[in-house]
Symmetry: C2
Subunit: 347 residues, 2 copies
DNA sequence: GATTGGCACTCATAGGTCTTGAGTGCCAGT
DNA sequence: ACTGGCACTCAAGACCTATGAGTGCCAATC
């Protein structure tokens, strides 16, 4: 087992290695950190840490660097969350400025997060399917062409132009609009979808074709692929930290661009920390834990955000395993709170 | 002046250098290309090309590589545009598949272009301001809250939620909607904006506050910052070609992410080739020509696209100066045609 | 038992020297 | 105008060596 001082040594190694990207030796530890013991003692502790596979030596005789497992232990025993500095808070405020709509808010937020952490920042687009219906509208564009608009309480507006098989008259469109709104406003999306399907069956034979087509268009908006999408900023930061990766960062950038694996990872992280709050609300996935997603040698920090208390999606950062977890976790948490507050105000 | 064979030698050097990233020597030229002359003769031609600064030697005694000026001459005398292979056409078709809306079409198109060229692909978001109004709608969401929707003939749908200072009744909203539509449908955006401003003054005193607020919201949608935006794919390709840059690609990725400089470059390229058609419709900006935009050592190929004949925005690729201009120009042109056709069908 | 100073050992890194060979420039000859 | 021949250049790779940070271990000490 690792002693109390052993953990302190691990902390020191992680901190110094993150700061300098050089393997950390026993001497430099006693120099920089005020352990009241000699280098030889630290060496004994380091030998134990190495037995536990928390640190490793790149070459037989050189300093040590943390292993993935070492980072994991380090992160798990991080408890005091350093709050953001005044300058950082100010930076967030400036970035978020006066945003006009949801897309704008998210775009600014993701940039702010990238700026704060110097990592790749990611925001999962708020899932329509986890929000409630605020309003439903059909806009007559031309004969046989209608625009379907769905507005969710989270501020998401989804729209789609539909080409109909049959003609319609505006009166019928209004009737359907009013009936649909009366039926589904305030309902969560899955319930709303079910209700709409039921509603369609209650219309008279003559109108069925039109109603079916329009209801289908609303349903397709609800299921929109758009809901599973990431907004990204700070890819340049990954290039800047290229030396932290053993191979090329090409496959990593590619995986980020493709999004699909990353979305799976976000999903898993959401499932894992379901219901967790307080100091542990930022979940961390480290190094090899991300290998199944083509993201080995990276770490991903995420947390949930949403308006009015309910989590509607996640945001976070991705960077090399060798990153400043403490600072980045604080930034992710803070930005998630800001964003949640902003969304709450809007809705 | 450079002889006919001199140009052929330049072509050979560009081709071989692009293919191998190794300086090209006189011997390898006579080996690979069937000039009916000896290496010494080629060397004489190369000496002339060097006098004209079309090629340069990295070290006193090594092969030659094209200069920016050399690439420029090479590109300018490219005339025969190789059409895409069947496989490539097929790839485009597959990528573009069945798209649901404008955003989807653009996202798929930009991916296809990145895939085809193995470069960073860029599409300028269709400018609302260059399109015509197809429909205008106000949707009553709540007391004092209205959704403004503007649909352009290019398929762009812009929307915004507005919080009003005063109450409104639905009847007034409809009246205004009908009046506004009657006034502006079919007009180009700038004219539509002017018309709306004029329309506002014709409403009676009592309704003025509401009308002004709503008109203002429409105008702000017309001016939406969103119109000046780029959609991007294939950043990973830039990382892959990192060795082609003397320094870090960090500032380049950053410039691409920030978009602002790149948009300026797109603007300049649009202005330059205003009215150009046919074989010269893809414009090329090479190496140092891009330095003012923070994109030295890169080349950018762009061309216009748009529905029903009018150019509404541009698309293109960005990559290292050392790229396959011929193939990439063909791909850019082909993708622009596909996209224009798709947009034409939709509208 | 924990801690320490001492010491032999390891090995990546940096610097230095040498060799190799692709490629040039130039010139005299065709 | 073109070619063969030849001396010259210089980057890249191979090889060697010195340096020194850092280790592991042990006997001595608290």
């Amino acid at each position: 087992m690792v002693s109390e001082r052993g953990l302190a040594v691990l902390r020191a190694i992680v901190q110094d290695y993150v700061a300098t990207r050089e393997p950390v030796g026993s001497k430099s530890i006693v120099d920089k950190h005020r352990f009241g013991v000699s280098a030889a003692t630290i060496r004994n502790d380091m030998a134990l840490l190495e037995d536990e596979e928390l640190i490793a030596a790149p070459h037989t005789s050189s300093g040590r660097i943390p292993t993935d497992k070492g980072y994991r232990v380090f992160v798990n025993q991080l408890t005091d969350v350093r709050p953001l500095s005044g300058a950082q808070r100010h930076a967030i405020e400036v970035f978020l400025g006066d945003s006009v709509d949801l897309d704008d808010v998210l775009a600014r937020t993701v940039r702010a997060l990238a700026q704060l952490t110097h990592q790749v920042a990611l925001i999962q687009y708020p899932s329509v399917s986890r929000a409630k219906v605020q309003h439903l509208e059909f806009v007559a564009l031309a004969p046989r062409r209608v625009l379907t608009v769905l507005i969710a309480d989270s501020g998401i507006v989804e729209q789609r132009v539909v080409d109909l098989d049959s003609d319609y008259d505006e009166e019928a469109l209004h009737t359907l609009r009013d009936a649909a709104n009366a039926a589904v406003v305030g309902l969560p999306m899955p319930d709303a979808a079910a209700m709409l399907r039921a509603l369609a069956t209650r219309f008279p034979e003559g109108a069925r074709a039109l109603v079916d087509e329009l209801v289908a268009s609303v349903l397709s908006v609800i299921d929109a692929t758009r809901q599973e999408r990431l907004i990204m900023a700070g890819a340049a930061n990954l290039v800047r930290t290229e030396h932290d990766f053993s191979g090329s960062i090409y496959p990593i950038i590619e995986a980020i661009e493709q999004q699909v694996e990353l979305l799976k990872l976000f999903g898993e992280m959401a499932a894992e920390q379901h219901g967790v709050v307080g100091n542990r609300d930022v979940s961390v996935s480290i190094g090899r834990e991300n290998e199944p997603f083509g993201l080995a040698e990276t770490s991903v920090l995420t947390t949930g955000y949403g308006s009015s208390g309910s989590v509607i999606a996640r945001l976070g950062v991705l960077g090399p395993t060798r990153m400043d977890y403490s600072t980045n976790m604080a930034a992710v948490r803070a930005v998630a709170r800001y964003l949640s507050r902003t969304l709450g105000e809007q809705a």
